[in-house]
Symmetry: C2
Subunit: 172 residues, 2 copies
């Protein structure tokens, strides 16, 4: 249950630097939240992360998780994403190469992908307008391969069981 001693050293020092530069304060809550956030794979809401954090330290409040996730975003360690269900998801940002998302509207699966060509064309497009981009978000919604298959099989779709947007990840 104990995390390896020297894990996430770089991320931790990034947070520390950001905190010091902004005249903020290091706290146990922030340490723990960062630790758990980094130990988890992708796409968490504040509530999701709160659930995990709460197991290790039931005294930490939901509000603090909200605030810390914003802090991590400012520090460049987290990135906000929305999948269209009204919630804000976070994923690691530092040292995780940038990527975009395909979202299956049947099962909620999220596929991450990256295309240098698209990135390049985006920059070109921006400079054509004299626009200096800081970040961007590309999302495609549709039906993933698996769901196409199961549809073809004419399996009577498990009706009633409304597929909530659930976040799984397929790595490129």
């Amino acid at each position: 249950m104990r995390t390896k001693k020297e894990k996430f050293v770089v991320e931790k020092s990034i947070l520390l630097e950001h905190i010091q530069a902004a005249g903020l304060r290091r706290t146990n809550q922030r340490d723990l939240i960062l630790e758990i956030f980094l130990s988890t794979e992708d796409h968490l809401t504040s509530e999701d992360l709160y659930g995990l954090v709460h197991r290790k330290d039931p005294t930490i409040g939901l509000t603090t998780v909200y605030r810390t996730l914003k802090l991590l975003t400012d520090a460049g360690l987290a990135r906000e994403v929305g999948f269209g269900d009204g919630k804000t998801y976070y994923e690691h940002h530092y040292n995780h190469e940038h990527h975009d998302h395909m979202i299956c509207t049947e099962c909620g699966r999220v596929i991450e992908f990256f295309s240098p060509e698209i990135e390049e064309l985006q920059d070109e497009m921006a400079s054509r307008f004299g626009f200096r981009p800081t970040h961007h978000s590309l999302r495609m919604w549709g039906v993933c391969a698996e769901c196409q298959r199961s549809k073809a099989d004419a399996q009577p779709a498990p009706s009633g069981a409304q597929p909530r947007v659930r976040v799984k990840t397929a790595k490129h």
Copy 2:
């Protein structure tokens, strides 16, 4: 003040067909909301549209605008967009060629653009994963040309006047 007689005939018949196909009912409210939505250029929230509608017919409720905008989206006449301020914006969809957005984080200006090359690469990316896309959204945040200029002029930024996300449009 009277709109030209035969304006938006096609859109109106699209809505009508959708309504009939779904066993729904045509109402004066829906007619008026569609009419005003189409007469307005781009990027309205339900509340925005409600304001406009309310001037012509103060009896129409906000809830109906919400519901109708969803209906128009289903009918393929409207498209939902989010610019990161927590609200849902709608823009015409039918007969308005697809485009993407650059959002200025200084002044809130929204620049619309379209790149066939990017579209093509997206489709290629999707098919590489066996993913069948239905729609997508590409947004870039950053600083627009105007705001870069006024910054360069070292004009003491009009502080205090927090630039709310305001929707203007620059056509490609």
